[in-house]
Amino acid sequence: MKYKSQKVAYWFFALSMLLLILQITYGFVMGFARIGMDGLHEFIPFNTARAVHTNLLVVWLLSGFMGAAYYIIPEEAQNELASVKLAYVQLISLAVVGVVAVVGYHFNYWEGRKFLEIPRPLDYLVVVNVLLFLGIILVTLFKGKRKTTTALVLSMGLLFAALLYLPGMIPFDSQVTDSFFRWWVVHLWVEGVWELIMGGILSFLLIKLTGVDREVIEKWLYVIVGLTFLSGVLGTGHHYYYIGVNKIWLIVGGIFSALEPLAFLAMALFAVNMYRKGEKKHPNKIALYWTLGSAIVSFVGAGLLGFAHTLPQTNLYTHGTLVTAMHGHLAFWGAYGMIVLAIISYSLPNLTGRKLYDSSRGRMAFWMANIGMVGMTVAFGVAGVAQVYLERKFKMDFMEVQAEISIHFVVLILCATLFATGVVLYIIDFYKHGTPTDEALEVKE
């Protein structure tokens, strides 16, 4: 690492890892409930497990993004963070809000709006927290010696992510408008501004790992985020097909959603080509695995599998079935989970001074987690397609269909076990690196 204040990133990453393990645990609670083993129903009913599972996902990714920003921005801006103390205050308050929300979900304290279950009073705390974070990042950036495209794209992504949280806080009496504006947050986050954050992190990692000229990488970064917004903003329409708004969205959403895979394809081609062009062979191979893996898996999970059910004719039947869960799992894992694990793999040796990047444990973690997640995606897919045909096409009763497809959840749990083992190995590696130290400051990259 080059700046002392980058150390704060480590603690955001550590929080991220803790929440990831909790998220997976609640995933198992749901998986077992689906095969009839719901002994925890009294304490953790399915809706609690579900809210905890998705919200922890959002918080561990955000914590990872924040850690990434605290690591990347000083190095890009060539400046120490504006305030390390405030960064720690922000970390602790993020953890507190997260814990209060998750505990609240066990006591019926929530809002019941998918992905945005955090109750309004806590929403305000989230806003304060994010403002504090943005303040630290933006002051650091603008007081810095240089303003790189990578840093600007990353900061812009974080700023818009904060702004777009606001439409989700507006109260509506109608379920339709409520849902309509909820997607402004959820869709425009994951298929819009979060991709700026992902693009920023990806570009930083490629510059560091491949040695390709910054100008070349950053030019393509603009093209990719340009494609993302060009397709992603109007692609929001695919959430509006069947929720009670005008038919115009069937056309607009259909066309622009079909373009969405292009941005992810460009991202994958970009990462692989930069790797091929690169003359520098960085010794941190495992960070390279996660970086290229993220670009490729996000294309498959978010791009291809997303496209598989965003055509209006298909979505009429797949809307509200397990097909969505199939796409959701591989998309979030590839695009956001893996990019956070990539930046952690890259920065950890630099923060702690321990270069453990050639361990077989690290490679095992990568392959087990990925093969496990692909298996889970297939299990969800098979269950989802079976559900579509039996329930939506052959018109069987919902619960009878669930009984028919429960066997696929046994497969899901087996694959999830493989996935979780990979993640645990990754976290063991994380732990073995020890904590960050100023002695690592001189380490040449």
């Binding site: 689906r34 019941g112 109608s174 379920q175 030019k219 393509w220 969205w249 607009v252 079935t321």
Partner: protein, 157 residues
């Protein structure tokens, strides 16, 4: 060959244009006759029903308008479906499930026992009825009662 400046212009220009179109389409879809959100029938009890729906995170198991958690049945058109299944007695069946003190568990899959009052349950039913009347561009028919009897489901519907 594309320069960095052109790439930036493509990003900023493209983003601005699509955002403006997006805002325009949003306004268009809630304007006058284009609005199909059934807002004119939004009564106080429907709004109370929605609050109950949200404060208990029903979407954490069920889906509504196709949105939710896929663990429990889609509730768009649920009143129609239950009427069909229970010979016009659907509303009362739904209410009794919501008012039940013990867990309702069709096929062994448990639902939280909410023990609602009659008034609360009736608000939720009004909310479901309101949802059922929305024009969903064809989705209502997919999850509704006009179910063709297929060879696989013979005798089970």
């Amino acid at each position: 060959m594309l320069s960095k400046k052109q790439a930036r212009a493509f990003f900023l220009g493209g983003t601005l244009v699509t955002f403006l179109i997006f805002i325009g389409l949003t306004v268009y879809s809630f304007m006058g006759e284009n609005d199909q959100t059934n807002k004119e029938k939004l009564t106080d009890s429907v709004v109370r029903g929605k609050e109950i729906w949200e404060s208990n995170n029903c979407m954490g198991c069920h889906t509504l308008l196709g949105e939710g958690a896929y663990y429990a049945p889609e509730l768009t058109k649920v009143v129609d479906r239950m009427n069909f299944k229970y010979d016009g007695n659907g509303e009362n069946v739904i209410k009794s499930i919501l008012m039940s003190e013990g867990p309702w568990q069709p096929n062994g899959r448990k639902m939280v026992a909410y023990g609602m009052t009659e008034a609360e349950a009736s608000d939720v039913v009004d909310f479901f009825k309101w949802i059922g009347e929305i024009d969903l561009n064809g989705f209502g028919e997919v999850v509704g009662v006009d179910r063709k009897i297929s060879p696989l489901s013979k005798g089970k519907n």
